[in-house]
Symmetry: D2
Subunit: 367 residues, 4 copies
C-alpha cells in the first residue's frame, strides 16, 4: 500500500487448531473496523482460503451473536502453508511454494492489511508473508499457552475449565470406591493445561511433558495415599508426558506409531501400570477435543475481545509486522519475528508448580 | 421382628457402582425417619459393611447438605456379596457363604428393616436376605436405566447430561475443521445412555450394544454427510457396542482381555477404522467415569428424594420385600422378586429410537 | 384439503412466551417432514405472522444446529390472537376479528396442515382455527408445566435447572454468614417451578400460589432453624405466591399495579418482612427471564424432539385437531379441545409436596 | 514473638463478605503449614472469633476437598471490628475498643502469626493489629476487584462468570421477542463486575457507578437498536450506578432508605423508565448473592491457592505486615499500609472500557 494511504480494507483469517475465543476475536476486529469505515474480508479455512481465493465479506450482522460461540465462523485448517503447499502434479503430491499466489489474492482483493489469528505456525507464515510486503498484524492463539511473547493466550482458560470440571466430577465418584482415576489432557510439549487444570481440580499427581516421571514415584504416591486411608487418587497426565528414559506413547492418529505397547495413549498406559503395580482399581478418561470445544469462558471472551480490538487499532496505526500480546494486565504488541519460536515451557521454579508442591501434589519426580 | 411391633430402627446401605443421587436417597430416608422417631444406621461400603459389622449412626446433621453431592457418604463396593464372600482360608481365597453373619449383624444392631439402594446385583442379594427373614426395602439404582421394573432410575439423567454436554462441546470444535468426532459412553449391555445422550446432543451416528452395526453403514453415513458439505460428523458409541459378527472390544480393566486389536476400547477402534476407511481426520473422547460423577441433575435429585421418602414410607407400613419404582409420574412399589433379572433393553420400536431415525440419525444398521 | 389428498406442505409457528426446547421441536418437525417429501413453511412471530402473512421456507440447513439453542428461530409473540386483533382504525386501537385473514393466508400458502406450538392461549386459538376448517396439530409448551393434558411439558426441566443451580449457589454463600436468602421464581398461578426447584435445591421454605401462606409460619421456620444453630435459611417463592388474605404483589410491568407496598415483587416483600420480623439479615435474588433462557436440558431436548417428530406423524396420518402429549413414558395424543382450559395445579397430596414435607420443607401453612 | 524464634503456630481468619476462593486460600495455607511443621488455628467468624476466642485446630483432613467449595469453612462476619465493638452495656449498645482482648487471645492461643484474608476493611484492622505488635500477613479478597495494590483479587472471575452466564441466558430469550432485558449486578462503588460481565456477555449498555449516565442516552441506544431491526437490547447495570445528578437508588436493606422512587433498586428503576420512555417491553433480573456463591472458577482456585501458599511463605520468612498481591503473572507482596484505602475504579481509558466502546457498547454517557 502506498505511503500515507489510509487503511480501508482488511482481511482476517484463523489458522491452525481450533480454540475457544476465535469468534470473539473476529467480532472484536469486525465491529470497530466498520465503525472506522473499513470493510472486512473473512478469508475461509485459514491460509487455504488465502491461496485458493476463498473469502466472504464480513458485516456486523455476521459477527452478531458469535461472541459466546466456540469454533470459528471462518473455518480453519492445519494444512494450508502457502510456502509448503501440497499440490497434485501429474498424479503425485508435490510440495510447492504458493506464496506468490497468496500475495496476488491479497492484492486482488484490495486488502490493505491482513489480521492473522493463530499459533506459532501461523505466526511463522505471517512473518514470511510480511517480508514479502504484506501488511500483517498477528493475534496469538493456543490453548496450550506456550507462547513466550504473551503472558496468556485466549482459549487456555477455557481448556483448563474443561479439565477442572472433569476432575471435579471424578472426585465424587472416586471417593465412593477405593480407586485411582487417570485423566489425560492435551499438551504434547507444554504441560500448562495439565498443570493449571490439575491445580484447580486438586489432582494428586501431575505428569507433564517437561518433567519425565519415574514410575516408582507414581506408585509410591498412590500407595501412600491409600495407606493414609484416602479412598482415591487422581492422576492428571498431559498427552505428551513420558516416563524417564521412555518414549512418548503416541496416539493412534500418528502414522509413525510403532509402539510395542499398543495402547491408546499415555493415559491408558498410566492406568494400566498403576493397576498392575499397586493392585488398585484404576479407571481413565480421555478428554480429547472436549478441551477445544464449547463456549469460551468469560476470561477468554474478554481477552479475545481486547486482542481483536487491539489488532484493528494496530492496523489503523499501520503498525504492521506486530502481534498483540498481554503483558501483566495490559494489551500491548511485540514484533512477530520476536514472538515466533520462543516456546514457554513449565519450569520447576514456576509459581504454579511451587504452589502445587506446597499443597502436596506430586510430579512423579524429585526436583 | 415381632408381629405388631413398630419399626423403630432401620439400616441403610448403598451397593454396586457409583451413581449421582445416592446421597439424595440417603437424605430422603434419614430425615423423615427421624421425624417419625426412628433411628438410622448407615452401613458402610455396601454389603461389605453388613458382613463386617461396619456402620455409623446417621443423624440429620449428617445428611444436611448432601442432596447436591455426587457419590455416597456411606461408601460402596462391588465385591460384597454375603452369599459369595471371598475369604482367605489357609492362604487361599475361598468363596464362602457369610449370609448368616450378615443376618446376625442385622439383629445385633437391632434393626427392624434394611433399606438397600442398588442395581440388579444388590436387589438379588436383598431378595435372598429377605427370604432369610430380613425386612428389606429396595431402592433401584443404575445410571444405565436398564431395569424393567421402573420407568426411570435416578442417575441416568445425570449421566445423559454429561454425554450431552460433551457432544455440545465437540460440535463447535468439529465444525471448525473437517472432522469426525467419536465419543464413547458407558453402557455395556444397554444403550440408553448413548441413545439419550446422542439424541439430546444431536449426534449423527449412534452405535448401541442392542444393534450390532455394519462398518459400511458407518462409513457411508460419514461420507454422505461429507459429500453434502457438512464439515463434521459425530459418532456416539456405547462401550458395549460391537460390529455385526464381531467381538466386544473390551477395556484394559478386564482380565480376560485377549484382543488381537490391542486398542483401548470400541471408541478408539471406531475412530481408527473411520480414518482408515474414509480418509477423514477422526478424534475420540472417552468419557469414562465422568458419567458417574458430579452433582446430580435436578431431575435426579427430585426422583432420588421421592424414592428415599417413599422407601421409609414402605418400611413404616411394613411393606417389606418391595422396591420403590416409578410408573408414569407416580412413585409406587413392586415386589423385589418381580423386579430382578428383567433387563430393559433398547428396541427398534422405542419412541426414542424412532425419533432419532426421524431426525436422520443412523444406527449403523438397517432396521 | 380434499379427502384422500396427501399432506404435502405444512406450516409451523411458535406462540406465546419463550421456552427452552422450541427450536428442538421445530427441528423435530422439519427434518422428518422433508424426509417424507413435505415442504415446511416457518410462520414468523406466532399468530402475528399468520395474520400478516409473514413466513419463510424451512430447509434442513435452517434447522441444523438449533437443537441446543434456546429461544425460537421463528420468533414469538404474546399479542397475536387473530380473533382479538388490535387494529389502528382512524387513530384508535380497535379489537377486530382477523381469523378469516389467517385462514386466507393459510390457503394462499398452500398449507395442508399447521403445527402450532404453544401454551393454553395458543391451543385455544388453534382449536378455534380448527373449527373454521384449518388442519391443526398442537404441541404443548409451558415452562410452568401446568397443562393437565400432558404429564410434562418441555421447558419445565430447564427452568427447574436454573432455579436449582441458583439455590446451590446461594447455599454456599448463605452458609458463610448467618443469613436468610430469598429467591423468587416464575409461576404466577402454578407453583411447579418453585416446588421442583426448591425440592431439588434443598430450600427450607417454599411459597407457592396454590397455598396462601401465613407470615408467622415463615418467621417461625426461619427462627427455628436459627435456634438450632443452622447458619442460613433459603426461601423459594413463586412470583404468584401470596399471604393468606393478602393480595398478589404484582410486578412493575403490570399497568394495573396500585400496590400500597411499592415493592418490586413478592420476593422483595418476603425478604423485607423476614428482616423486620426476625432481625436476621436477608437478601433476595429475582431470577426473572433467566428461567426462560439458555440451552434446554437434555431431558427437554429429548422430549421436544419426540414431540416434534410425533406431531409430523400426526399430520401425516391426518389426525388433525389433536395435540401431542406425554403419558407416563409414551408420547401419545389428545384432542385439543379436551386439552385446553384444564390447568394442573399443585395440590397437597402431590408426591412432590409430600416428599418436600418429609424432608422438612415448610410451605408456610399447615395442611 | 522473640527475635530468632521460628514461626510454629499460625492463626487464620476470613473477614468481610463471602467470596468464592476463600476455602482454596485456607487449604493453600494449611497444607504447607503442616508440611513445615506448623500448627494451624482456624479462627471462627472473622474478627468476631478473635475477640471472643472462638477457634478450632485445622488439620489436613479439614481442608481436604474444600478447594472447589464456595463459602468459607471458618465462617465470616461483617461486624467484628475489634476497634469498634458493639457491646451491650447496661441495656444499651455501646461501641468499645476490644483490640486488647484480641491481642490477649492471640497470645493465649500461642500464635506466632495471623493470616487475615479479607478486603479493605479487614486490611485496615489487620494493619492496626499489626501496629499493636501482632504478626499479620494479609491476603486480599473482594469480588469487586477494586484494590489498587493487586492486579486481580480472587472471587472476581467467579462473579463475572455468573453475570456472563446470566447474560448468555437472557440473550436467547430476549431474541425470541422484541424486548429489553435489564440485569443488575453487584458493584456499589466499583463497576468491574458489570464491565467484565457485560463485555464477556455481549451486553449493549453498561451502567457503572463510575460513569453517571444520562437517561436519554440509554433510551436512544435502545431505540437505535430497535430501529435497526435488532430484536432485543441487554442492559447490564451495577447496583451502584446512578443517573447524572440523580441519587443512588438504594436497596431495601439499607436503613437510611428514604427514596421517593420506592423501587427495589436501580435495576428495576432502569427497566421501568425504559418501558415508559420507549414503549418497549422490559424485564429485569437481580442476581444478588448468586454472584458470591458457588464453586470458584479454575482461575480463582489457582489464584487462591497461590495466594495461600505465598502467605505461608511470607509468614515463615517473618515478612509480617505484608499482603500477598498479583503483579502481572507473579505473586509478590506489598506493605499492608500501602495497600489500604487505595481503591481501583473503572476509568474511561481502561482497556476494557475501550474494547467495550470499540464493539459498540454504550455506557449511557459521552466520554
Amino acid at each position: 500500500m502506498a505511503k500515507g494511504k489510509r487503511v480501508k480494507r482488511i482481511g482476517i483469517l484463523t489458522g491452525g487448531g481450533d480454540c475457544p475465543g476465535l469468534n470473539a476475536v473476529i467480532r472484536g476486529v469486525t465491529k470497530p473496523a466498520h465503525d472506522n469505515g473499513l470493510s472486512v474480508l473473512g478469508i475461509l479455512d485459514g491460509f487455504e482460503g488465502l491461496v485458493e481465493a476463498r473469502g466472504k465479506e464480513l458485516y456486523n450482522k455476521d459477527v452478531s451473536g458469535i461472541l459466546a460461540q466456540g469454533g470459528t465462523i471462518l473455518g480453519s485448517s492445519n494444512k494450508g502453508d502457502p510456502f509448503h503447499w501440497p499440490e497434485n502434479v501429474e498424479g503425485k503430491i508435490k510440495i510447492v511454494d504458493r506464496s506468490e499466489q497468496a500475495l496476488r489474492n491479497y492484492e486482488a482483493w484490495g486488502l490493505d492489511a491482513l489480521i492473522a489469528i493463530g499459533g506459532d505456525g501461523t505466526m511463522h507464515i505471517a512473518h514470511k508473508l510480511s517480508q514479502m510486503g504484506m501488511n500483517v498484524v498477528g493475534v496469538p492463539k493456543t490453548i496450550d499457552n506456550d507462547l513466550q511473547a504473551t503472558d496468556v493466550t485466549f482459549g487456555h482458560d477455557s481448556a483448563v475449565f474443561v479439565v477442572t470440571e472433569a476432575i471435579d466430577r471424578l472426585h465424587t465418584t472416586a471417593s465412593s470406591h477405593h480407586r485411582v482415576m487417570v485423566i489425560e489432557t492435551m499438551g504434547r510439549y507444554a504441560g500448562w493445561i495439565a498443570l493449571h487444570g490439575g491445580l484447580a481440580g486438586g489432582a494428586d499427581i501431575l505428569l507433564l511433558p517437561e518433567f519425565p516421571f519415574e514410575w516408582d514415584k507414581v506408585y509410591e504416591k498412590v500407595m501412600q495415599r491409600h495407606m493414609m486411608g484416602k479412598r482415591f487418587s487422581i492422576v492428571c497426565v498431559a498427552e505428551g508426558a513420558k516416563p524417564k528414559g521412555g518414549d512418548l506413547v503416541v496416539r493412534a492418529k500418528d502414522k509413525k506409531r510403532t509402539d510395542p505397547i499398543q495402547l491408546g495413549g499415555i493415559g491408558e498406559l498410566v492406568a494400566k501400570k498403576i493397576t498392575e503395580n499397586t493392585g488398585l482399581e484404576t479407571r481413565y478418561t480421555i478428554l480429547g477435543h472436549l478441551q477445544r470445544g464449547g463456549s469460551p469462558t468469560p476470561y477468554d471472551r474478554i481477552l479475545s475481545t481486547k486482542f481483536g480490538t487491539y489488532a484493528i487499532h494496530l492496523a489503523l496505526k499501520k503498525r504492521f509486522g506486530r502481534m498483540a500480546a498481554l503483558k501483566g494486565s495490559e494489551i500491548t504488541s511485540v514484533k512477530i519475528e520476536d514472538a515466533i519460536a520462543k516456546q514457554k515451557l513449565v519450569t520447576a521454579d514456576n509459581q504454579g508448580v511451587q504452589a502445587a508442591l506446597a499443597v502436596g501434589i506430586s510430579f512423579g519426580v524429585e526436583f
